[in-house]
Symmetry: C2
Subunit: 566 residues, 2 copies
């Protein structure tokens, strides 16, 4: 190899691309680093679009600025990083033999070849449009680009639209729902699957759905869009598979994204089972001089070993940094994979997950044990807010497989903590004695995550026979004869009850009122309270008195996702 | 062994005791469980005292209540848990031969023997009083008991006290400082050591001290109390070792606690090197039928292996649960030890730490590498707040040894996350590619903890030569001739500067202004910016241009703990 500077070419200027470029330039200051970017903007903080649309802030430049307010335009990249960034430039074709990329200047309409020694693909992902009629109508958009964000922000500011439909109840869908609802637009979220937010199990997703409805949004699940309806080329409504027509002037499609692998595929690079560009742990593609990162690649799920498409901005940055190291001989960096950690804010609730949901874990072949735990996130005197946690572990080994969390309380801390526990390969037993930071402004004396591990440990050791709210509801609907025991206080019962034929015997009175329970000691009894701590206490007591089929309804009233009385 | 119920006796009714009792009762519903408690109250949430004193809430019963508002009195323990709790009862002596405890009813003045099969010691800790004259004066208190909290709350409500001294700048000391300052009392915190909050290294503790001062509190370090001054038996002031006299009507002593091991020692149980009752990982003392937990025991620090006294309410609960399992043959539970995780809120700042500080790690014999990293805790457009992190790792292996964090931002999440990383035995490299939850309301795209790991990794790999703010200040004070380069923008510089002879060359202009740098390529150059990200970029550039001694001032202006100009 000659002594001329290394030529590093990066295709894509959003997250992974600029990160790889900047890291490479710092590691090899002699390198000639060029970024090719189709759109006019660079380093957009695209995860912030919903907050701009929702009016959390007003200056769109904040997407494009450094923390000190400098716009990350080509001049900034050249002056502060010594990187040439060509915006409005499209990469048309990779010639791997000659190691050049054919690029088109979209302003001038001229083509040119850009040579490389190392090429980085950060071509991102494309929104999936439902394969139904009418997608070309005016009034249908996604929220993937700066242009989309600008458009929806204008919609908000003009205030002329009354009804909108969000197609897709994933992360972007629910965030967009909040943004538009805050803009005074009446929103319906339409999801083809049986629940929103597929990274959660059904019972936690349902709690979030209930909250969205309480905030005024409509949510329709298990009902795909069958057509966009219009007049004179303009959207007038959305039709669902069951025939429902939702009149609206705006539809935001948030039905997921697919890796944009066109360039890579055309160049003959390996594409993987999940549809993304195949990379090894150094983020190298099947061509040793071409690397790829961000939304265009697939990476291993560290729990299942299977390749997944994980289009998250944080992972794009981490992968970009790994590439910046590896293409400059600054060391051998590795990106081992993802545990698919995610979080989103939806109105006053936060929902997050890390690792595998129970559904995912079962699908991946794990023998699973799980529990739902509901509890305030601080002592009551500090102004606590509820968080509901679901913890999933491998039966036998007790290895943690995943944690989900939903509620108005501090969800993001519990998910971050759980994510690190997964990275460490910890077990449920490990979590039961974890040394987490405690002070009343931040958590209960036993943090919710640890308390949840306690409950799951009890369940795994056979001290608690848990039953989910959903199973209880199904039993009741089937007419099963389980005795349902509410162990709360009379005042709590007065305030609100489940209305499923439950019998109130407060825990403190239970020792003296056992004659009110089924005489048949093999009759199923399901205990609960507000969060099922007293329910568990009651269950232990009844087991000690000979009842053989005593269950605890996990999470109690606070995790009950169905209608209540009063 | 006969078939009679197992007699479980618990001495101490605050945290560890009731937890052990309740768990034991649930695991063995036939057991006869008795709690002996000297004070009139049970299960007090004692970590909440400062917030009651400070007026965060007004109902003292909230300390004693379940989340649903039921007071945890002896009747509650009997009715809901089947546990006999004897308050105002003191355990005088353990007869291990006969397996009885001599107890005194403090109301009646009568003594009786209580037999046990398994005994649990949860005798807590006692406040340390400075060995100086005047400690008997009226107006001197601690904040350890319900009575203390009641007293200080009356002080607040009556509003007659103008000046108070808090003796001790530890966790309780700084929390008490905030509580009394909020009550309109003028506070001086006096600490004998060179810094407050010894779980932090000096530079982070100093940032917190600066914040306390900005909030109106006085803080005096490295100056022990030499006497409490008084007239007619009432406190009038506090005298310090350097002769300073601080007039005050109230002094709160928060100079730490010592394990209360009197009963255990008198009974001949092993007391350990850290002064606490010796226990094995099952929390069993040197007597196989006696267990101990909470503030009276010593436990292993999991990073050093050495026994430590870790008087935290959360650990007390976890240990109590382990005992509840082990004394009832419900399994073999283990409490492996502590990583000494702690957090506290002080005015608008939070300070926390987990694992070892650099000072502790060095004292324990580790070859240490560390870094300070400052950064907002979210994207700017979401209303970010600063957090300053210090990360400590073992040189060579890269194993994480500890993390400290201070600032107005979300510190508690970073400490909880770091604590779990320590439990998992993760390395700095592991942290650089961790999959944490990201969404703009909760964190930057690369979480502060990961960004800090990136910086430490750069330092360990030799890409960054870090220097602490303190070392820079010492250099400047010594008259060292280092060239100090501020790489921020002119507007930032106008707003505020360090005033240590720094030269402003904005990063974006640096490539064109290298002639303004020392011509001698071996001259030391120290680069910084607001958070030293641009400082790092500048350093890499200068290194590439041949300067050999280029350092980055870690954390930049935001971590600078000394006076600034403007």
């Amino acid at each position: 190899m000659s002594d001329r500077p290394k030529r590093i070419l990066v295709i894509g200027g959003s997250a992974a691309g600029p990160k790889a470029a900047a890291r490479a330039r710092r590691m090899d200051p002699r390198a000639e680093v060029t970024i090719i970017q189709k759109s006019p903007d660079l380093s957009m903080a695209s995860c912030g679009y919903p907050y701009y649309v929702g009016g959390v802030f007003d200056d769109r430049n904040q997407f494009l600025c450094t923390p000190t307010g400098v716009v990350r335009d080509p001049r900034f990249f050249m002056n502060t990083k010594g990187i040439e960034a060509r915006t409005r430039t499209e990469a048309l074709e990779i010639d791997r033999e000659r190691k050049v990329v054919l690029c088109r200047d979209l302003e001038q309409g001229t083509d040119s070849e850009v040579p490389y020694d190392k090429l980085v693909l950060a071509t991102g992902a494309r929104p999936v449009m439902p394969p139904v009629p009418g997608t070309e109508l005016k009034g249908i958009t996604t929220l993937q680009s700066m242009e989309d964000a600008d458009y929806l922000r204008r919609v908000r500011d003009e205030g002329t639209i009354r009804n909108a439909v969000v197609v897709g109840g994933g992360l972007i869908g629910v965030e967009t729902c909040e943004a538009l609802e805050l803009a005074g637009i009446h929103i319906t979220v339409v999801e083809m699957l049986p629940q929103i937010l597929m990274f959660l199990d059904w019972e936690l997703a349902k709690l979030l759905e209930n909250h969205m409805k309480a905030k005024g949004a409509h949510v329709i699940t298990e009902n795909p869009v069958s057509a966009f309806l219009g007049e004179n080329g303009t959207l007038t409504g959305v039709k669902l598979a069951n025939g429902t027509e939702l009149p609206c002037e705006l539809a935001v499609v948030a039905a997921g994204v697919r890796p944009n692998v066109d360039l890579a595929r055309a160049a003959g690079l390996d594409i993987g089972e999940a549809g993304g560009i195949s990379v090894d742990p150094s983020m190298r593609t099947s061509d040793p001089d071409i690397y790829a990162a961000g939304d265009c690649v697939e990476i291993p799920n560290l729990l299942t070993g299977k390749k997944v498409h994980a289009p998250y901005g944080d992972l794009a940055n981490l992968q970009g940094r790994v590439i910046g190291t590896n293409i400059t001989d600054a060391g051998e960096a590795v990106f081992p994979g993802t545990i698919q950690t995610g979080v989103c804010k939806v109105f006053d609730y936060t929902a997050g997950a890390t690792g595998l949901s129970e559904r995912h874990a079962r699908a991946a072949g794990f023998d699973v044990v799980s529990v739902v735990h509901a509890e305030p996130d601080k002592p009551g005197f500090m102004g606590a807010a509820l968080v509901v946690i679901k913890m999933v572990a491998e039966r036998g080994s007790g290895r943690l497989l995943g944690v989900q969390c939903v509620g108005p309380g501090d969800v993001s801390k519990r998910i971050a903590t759980a994510a690190m526990a997964l990275h460490g390969g910890l077990t449920v037993d490990d979590l039961t004695v974890a040394d987490l930071p405690y002070a009343p402004p931040f958590s209960p004396a036993v943090d919710n995550l640890i308390a949840c591990a306690h409950t799951l440990q009890n369940k795994m050791a056979g001290f608690m026979d848990g039953i989910s709210c959903r199973e209880v509801k199904e039993k009741v609907d089937r007419g099963d004869e389980a005795f349902i025991l509410d162990t709360r206080g009379p005042d709590e019962y007065e305030l609100m009850r489940l209305g499923i034929g439950e019998v109130l015997i407060p825990l403190g009175a239970l020792r003296g009122r056992m004659d009110e329970l089924p005489a048949d000691k093999d009759h199923e009894i399901i205990c609960f309270c507000k969060i099922s701590l007293r329910g568990y206490e009651a269950a232990r007591l009844l087991q000690a008195h000979g009842w053989t089929k005593v269950k605890v309804m996990e999470g109690g009233v606070m995790a009950w996702p169905f209608a209540r009385e009063k």
